[in-house]
Symmetry: C3
Subunit: 341 residues, 3 copies
C-alpha cells in the first residue's frame, strides 16, 4: 500500500525529453515526456485501445502517438486522434498525472486529491548559490522504498557498511536527539572532539579529531535529507556557528526513494556541499565517489528485502536507534490509513 496523495520524484529533469520515458510508480505504469512547450507531462502508460504502452510510441507535435495504431493523446490524457475515424469516443483517454518541476526534480502526484505544487518538499540545496550539487543519480532497487528510509534514519550503519569512507566507529557512542511533528521526523547527533570518518578527514584536511555532526530529516512519505560534516574542535555543537571554523566539511545527501511496485523502488539521490566549490578532487569525491558509497548499501537493501519476503513472519529485535525509523513508519501508516478513509 502506497501513499498516493503525495509528491514523489518521477525523474531527473534530464531524463524527460521528447522521447517517451517509461517508469512504474506506485504500481502504475507511467510515461513521461515533454510537450511542445517543453513542459513535462505524465500519463498512464497504456493505450485505451489495445493496451500497448504509450512509451513504445513517439511524440508528434507535442502529443504522444501510440506505436500500434496511431491513437494520439494530449497532455491531459484525452485522445485527440484515432486514425481513420472522425468520431472520438468520450472515454477514449488515458489518465494524466499532475507534474511539477521544482528544485531540479520532476515531481509527480499519483493520487486523486488535488495536487498543490506548493507542498513540494523544499530541497533548496539543489538550487542555491552557496551549495554545489553533484550530478544526481538513480538506481532501480529491488527493495521496498521504506527500507531505504530505515537505512538513512539509522546512521549507525555507516560504521559497518561504509567503514572505509563515511563511517566512523564513534557514531554509535552518541545517542541522537529525536523530534517529530505531523509529517517530519528529525534526528540529530553531535559528536564532539572525535576522529572524523576517513573521507571527511581527507576532504577537509583534518589530521586529528574534529567536531562532527550527523543529522537527518524525514519528510513523509519519501524524502530523507542527511546533514553531515565536521569542523575544527571547539567550533561544533548546539548553538555554534560552524562557518567560523578554519576547516569545514559540510554536506547534504538527499534521498528520494520513489515506490515502483511492492518490493521495488527508484532510488533517486543527490549530494550538495557548502565548501571547496572549485576543487575538482572534491568534486570527484562527493560525486562519483559518493555514488560508490551508496552502492555499498544497495546489496544490503536488496538482501534484506529477499529475507523479508521469504520469512515475513519473523519477530525482530528493536533497539534505541530504531526509534527514528519506527516513528517514520508509524507516520506512513497513519497517512495510508487516512487515505483509505
Amino acid at each position: 500500500m502506497f501513499v498516493k496523495n503525495a509528491w514523489y520524484v518521477a525523474a531527473w529533469p534530464r531524463e524527460v525529453t521528447d522521447k517517451p520515458l517509461a517508469r512504474v510508480i506506485c504500481g502504475e505504469p507511467v510515461v513521461l515526456y515533454r510537450d511542445g512547450a517543453g513542459a513535462a507531462v505524465a500519463l498512464r502508460d497504456m493505450c485505451c485501445h489495445r493496451a500497448l504502452p504509450l512509451s513504445l510510441g513517439k511524440i508528434v507535435g507535442g502529443n504522444i502517438q501510440c506505436g500500434y495504431h496511431g491513437y494520439t493523446y494530449d497532455g491531459t490524457g484525452a485522445c485527440v486522434d484515432i486514425p481513420g475515424q472522425s468520431h472520438i469516443p468520450e472515454h477514449a483517454r488515458t489518465r494524466s498525472y499532475p507534474v511539477a518541476e521544482k528544485f531540479h526534480c520532476v515531481w509527480i502526484w499519483m493520487g486523486d486529491a488535488p495536487a498543490n505544487p506548493a507542498e513540494i518538499p523544499a530541497l533548496w540545496w539543489l538550487d542555491h548559490a552557496e551549495w554545489k550539487p553533484s550530478t544526481p543519480d538513480m538506481a532501480h532497487l529491488k527493495c521496498d522504498y521504506r527500507l531505504i528510509m530505515d537505512n538513512v534514519l539509522d546512521a549507525t550503519h555507516l560504521t559497518y557498511v561504509h567503514p572505509t569512507t563515511i563511517g566512523a566507529s564513534s557514531i554509535v557512542a552518541f545517542e541522537p536527539e529525536i523530534t517529530h511533528d505531523e509529517r517530519v521526523v528529525r534526528i540529530s547527533r553531535w559528536m564532539l572532539d572525535r576522529p572524523p570518518p576517513p573521507a571527511y578527514a581527507k576532504a577537509g584536511d583534518f589530521d586529528g579529531n574534529a567536531d562532527r555532526w550527523a543529522a537527518v530529516e524525514y519528510w513523509a512519505p519519501a524524502v530523507c535529507v542527511n546533514f553531515a560534516g565536521c569542523v575544527d574542535v571547539g567550533h561544533g555543537g548546539p548553538g555554534k556557528d560552524i562557518r567560523q571554523s578554519p576547516r569545514r566539511v559540510e554536506l547534504v545527501s538527499i534521498n528520494l526513494p520513489t515506490p515502483a511496485e511492492e518490493g521495488a523502488c527508484h532510488y533517486f539521490f543527490a549530494f550538495a556541499r557548502a565548501f571547496k566549490h572549485d576543487d575538482p578532487e572534491i568534486d570527484h569525491f562527493f560525486g562519483p565517489g559518493m555514488v560508490k558509497v551508496f552502492e555499498e548499501d544497495f546489496g544490503i537493501l536488496e538482501a534484506q528485502q529477499r529475507m523479508l519476503e521469504k520469512y515475513p513472519a519473523e519477530k525482530r529485535v528493536s533497539t534505541i536507534y530504531d526509534r527514528g525509523p519506527a516513528m517514520a513508519r508509524r507516520m506512513l501508516e497513519r497517512m495510508v490509513e487516512a487515505e483509505r478513509g
Copy 2:
C-alpha cells in the same frame, strides 16, 4: 482455454527428423519425430514411468526410447519395451496425437474428437506452381496467440508499426468490407489510385500511384492469410483482372500462431508471391526482408501481453477497425464453449 479439436501447425517439415523435437502445444508437452518409414509422429512428451520428457531420449528402430531407463514407445504411444521386464502393463503408454503433413506443414490435432485431415486449412499457395514461397520461419513469442490474430486482422497497424516497408498512410482512409461465415472472417479493402507502400513501389517498379488491395482471411482457430499487392491504376478494384496489369505486386503472407501455453505461442509464418519468381533481389525482400518486418510486430505483441497480464481488468476502447478482430474472437469463444459442451 484453447480449442483442442482443431488442426494446428506443430512444426515445419524440416524440423521433424529422427532426433526428437520437444514442443509445448495447447499446454501439453509434445515430442515430434519421424518413424522408420519417415512419417511424422507426435506423442505426449512424458515417460509413463518417471515422467522424464521422452524428447531427452532417442529414436531406436523407429520407436522412441526414454533416456532414463529405456522404456520404448511406438508411434501409437504404446510402450513396447521395458528393459529387464517381460510383462508390459496395459496402462504403460503415453498419448499419441494425430499428425498430418500437408501444404508443407506438419499439423497436429490436440483434441479427443476424431481427426479428419480433409479439414486441414488449404494453404495451397505454399504448394502451387504460380506461387513462389519463401523459406518459412517461426518465432516463439511470449504472447497469447489471439493477439497475433488481432494484429493481422487490423491492417491499420501497418502505417504505425511498418512505416518504412509495407505501411502506407492511406490504408486508414479506406474502410474495409467485412464478411464472415461459421468458421471464417473475411476483411478486404481496395485503395485505388494511391501511393503504394515503400516496399511494393520498389518491388513492382511503381513510380507514382497504384491500385492497392489488402485483404485477410481468418480461419478459426489459428490460421490467418493476408492478401496484399498493387497494380497499375485502372487495373484494380472489384471485378477487375489484376493479372492484365503491366506492373504487379501480388503476395500472400500466411500466419499460423499455434498456442503453446497461456500467454505464449509459436508463431509460424510463411510468404509466397505470384510475380518475379526469378528475381534474387525480390527473393531477398520477400524472404529475410519480410522476416524483419514481422519482427517489428514481435516487440509490440509481447509488450501488449505484459500489459494485459498485469492490468487485466482495464476497459478498452474499440473502433470500427476492431470489428474484424472482434468477430474472430466471438467465433473462437463459441468454439471453446461448444467443446466444453
Copy 3:
C-alpha cells in the same frame, strides 16, 4: 516436508572457514563458519534486528558480526554485542544448529529433538587406509532430493544414462535382491560372467567377461552408498572373497543429497576405491572422470523435476525395479509422519 530430526551434510570441511558461508538447508537459511577454536558453527542466517543475512557480515574474534549495524552473535546464537547499547535483550538471538565434523563431512541437525553425533551415518570409506577417496564435490540441483535417491536406487538407469562409462546393458537382466530394516534399504545384484562396463574394463584391465556387482544402501533420510566393481570370472558371487581375484575394480560412490528448499537440493558426492591407489590415471578416472558421469544425471534429474512440478497429477507406471525406491519413499513418509506427531 522434510525430515528435520536427522543429520544432513551441510558442507565439505574445506568450505567452512573464517569467511561466512550461506546455505539454505531444509528450507531454512543457514550460515556456516569456524569459530576462534576452529570448530564449525551453524546459525540461522538472519540478524534478529533487520533480517539481513549474517553471511553478509564477517567473523570478528570467532563471533559473527552483522554487516548492517554490527550486531554480533556467538556460536550459541546469542547476541553478544549491540553497538551503542549496553543492554542486550533476552530475545536478541538467532537459532544455532548442532554441527558435527565426522568422516570428512560437516553434518548439521535441523530439528528440535536432541542431536546425537553417534547417529551420524558411518561413511568410513572416506577415512580408512584401504580406501582412497577422490576430492569430494557438490552440485546445487533444481530437483527434489528424493529424485536423487530414486536415481541411485535403480541402477538400471546406468545402461541408458551412462552407456559409454559405467553403464552395461547386462544390468537389466539381473533382478536385484532387496531387503530393508527400519532405516535402511539394501539392494544388491551379482552379474556373473558378463561384460563389464567400459570404464571398469579399462580401469581393471579386463579384456573379456567379469563377475560384477552393483549394490546400494539407502540410509534414511538422505544417504545413499553405491558399491560397485568387478573381479575375474569365478571370484565373484555370494560368499566369495573378491580380494583373491587377480584383477579387481572395487568402488563406493557416496551420495548425500541435502534438501535445500522444495524442488532444490545440494547434491554432495564423493568416491573412494580399494584398488590401484597409486595410479594417477585411475585417480583421474575415479575423480574428475566420475564427476562427468554424475553430470550426465543432473540434466535428467532437473528435467524430471520440471515435469513433476508442471504435471503433478499424472499417474505413473511402476515396475519391478521401482521396489527399492518405493521402499525408501515409504520409509521417508513414515519418518515425516512420526515427526509431525
